[in-house]
């Protein structure tokens, strides 16, 4: 997917929408404080207004044909074909902890995330990846716990 050939109007509208949310939030706050200075709402309002204005400017630029080149980074080429499966697997890996972290704990979640990301990058050995992930997750859990970093229960589902 080369974004330069399309006009991503949603980007400008999205920025304006975020600005709108912040602007709306500013209305529920005091703009002026009792003594001389400014209240907690003014800066929020300024930031919201700025985002709305910048979103508008971006939308205008998109209308004028602004080009968007994907950034170059290691291990990929910006003009490489878009890998839907790679994208979806990696995105799922980022979302999985939302569902699993509290019920099954860090080590199992780490194993799932590890396996999903490894698969997004092309491995096909699910059992081996799960084992690697579980070992890494458990090592992190024990190691960081001993350093004073609390990563929750080992397996909350069974009360550990």
């Amino acid at each position: 997917m080369s974004s330069s050939s399309t006009r991503p109007w949603w980007l400008g509208l999205g920025v304006m929408a975020i600005g709108g949310v912040w602007l709306n939030g500013a209305f529920s706050l005091d703009v002026v404080a009792n003594y001389g200075g400014i209240g907690p709402g003014l800066f929020v309002g300024l930031v919201g207004s700025g985002l709305v204005l910048l979103g508008l400017l971006l939308t205008i630029k998109i209308g004028h044909g602004e080009r968007f080149e994907p950034q170059a980074t290691e291990d990929m080429t910006p003009d490489a074909p878009f890998s839907r499966s790679g994208f979806l697997l990696a995105t799922t890996a980022a979302a999985v902890p939302l569902a699993t972290m509290q019920p099954v704990g860090f080590p199992v979640t780490a194993a799932l995330v590890f396996t999903l990301v490894a698969r997004a990058f092309g491995t096909r050995r699910i059992v081996q990846d799960l084992a690697f992930g579980l070992i890494l997750g458990s090592a992190c859990w024990y190691g960081f716990r001993s350093l004073g970093v609390d990563l929750g229960g080992f397996l909350p589902l069974v009360g550990w």
Binding site: L11, G37, L54, E74
Partner: protein
Amino acid sequence: MDALPSLLAGFAVALQPINLMWALVGSILGTAIGILPGIGPALTIALLLPVTAQIAPESALIMFAGILYGAMYGGSTTSILINTPGESGSMMTALEGNQMARRGRGAAALATAAIGSFVAGTIGTIGLTFLAPTIAELAFVFGPEDYFALMVLAFTSVSVVMGTSRVRGFIALFIGLALGVVGIDGQTAQARMVFGSPELFDGIQITIVLVSLFAVGETIYVASRYRADAPSINPLAGGIHMTAEDWRRSWRPWLRGTAIGFPIGALPAGGAEIPTFLSYTVERRLAAHPEEFGHGAIEGVAGPEAANNAAAAGVLVPLLTLGLPTSSTAAILLAAFQNYGLQPGPMLFMNNAQLVWGLIASLYVGNVMLLVLNLPLVGLWVRLLLIPRPYLYAGIMVFSLVGIWGLATSWMDLLLMFVIGMAGYVMRLYDFPIAPVLIGLILGPMAETQLRRALSISQGDPFTLVSTPISASLLAVSLIVLVLPAILRRISPKLAPTT
């Protein structure tokens, strides 16, 4: 403030065995992450923040400084050997260094990069040693309106300089500012933009934003366009050495690169891209054999590498003296100081002299360690590139999870990780710079505090913001930074960068 006695006292701290060990750990970690893709110094420091809460502040900051410098050394190795800059500051090194490696002169390229980094890092640290106390003393005269103007200058220059479009740079900045206002307002105790969630009362931590943007966003982005080829590493012929001719052609570019890199790094705009590019251009212009450029000219490696490391030292000047971060790594270093209840700025040199001078002294020590670690052991470091990418990125995601879940075992933090990670993916896809988000997030609340303080003192008079020569000058410079590219473009379309 006399710099030399303070520096000597700093060496007494830096040379303690425990601090030498942390400097070594930082140098090793820094070199490794400079070589590895997908992980940079800012992300590494962010992931280490929860762990280092258990160790003394000077030890932790000495390790972080080692990571900052080490990443510069490591970045040059990948640029030269596989034509892949580990850090943005190594892009120019890749141009000539990789050509040298292809012609069997990789060893000389690595040597001039490492020795140049050492020379520049050491001279840059000397500059920091003598410049920082002076600026810190000057900063005592800064009032709130001056600090606010300084931050406006940092916002403007970071947004204009980083990335290819000013509008996108400012959007990134304002996203950071927007995230920075979330939480309880420190002055009125009112909750702002918390969307009814008590978990947001403490605000959004920079670690979450940084890890999500750099690790999660990057992993999703690379996975969506992954190139599965194994890196083609140019072999190193013989040992790491330079001929007499290499030395003759390298020493001037090292010094010129340092002279370019340090002052630009110390400016509020900061960054390593501009000085390395400038150094490359200067060396090309001054070279006795300009026709060699593009085919492996050693000056094109020596100059930019020196500029890169000198800029890293320069970035510490505004950070330590004014509390002003001008890069992603500086922003997370500021967060590290704040984790220990310390606020970089002029008072740091007064109240925490042992820590700040210990940190500066450790930079000298770290540079020597890095030279020793990088010159003879480069063959070992290169083996890191052979780690299978699926497991590298999977490991980065697991460690990111440690960094975020370990902060407060909060589900809201995981939600933020997902949302901001997706934003990081979109920002890469549509070429938004990421550093302004972090600068906005960490400097925004400080700018707001100074703005409110200035207006409270003046009883709401907005003209107080331009009432001192310092604030008026800084705001004028901000305006110039903002409009200059447009004016240049109008005068000569070839001079100005495309927006």
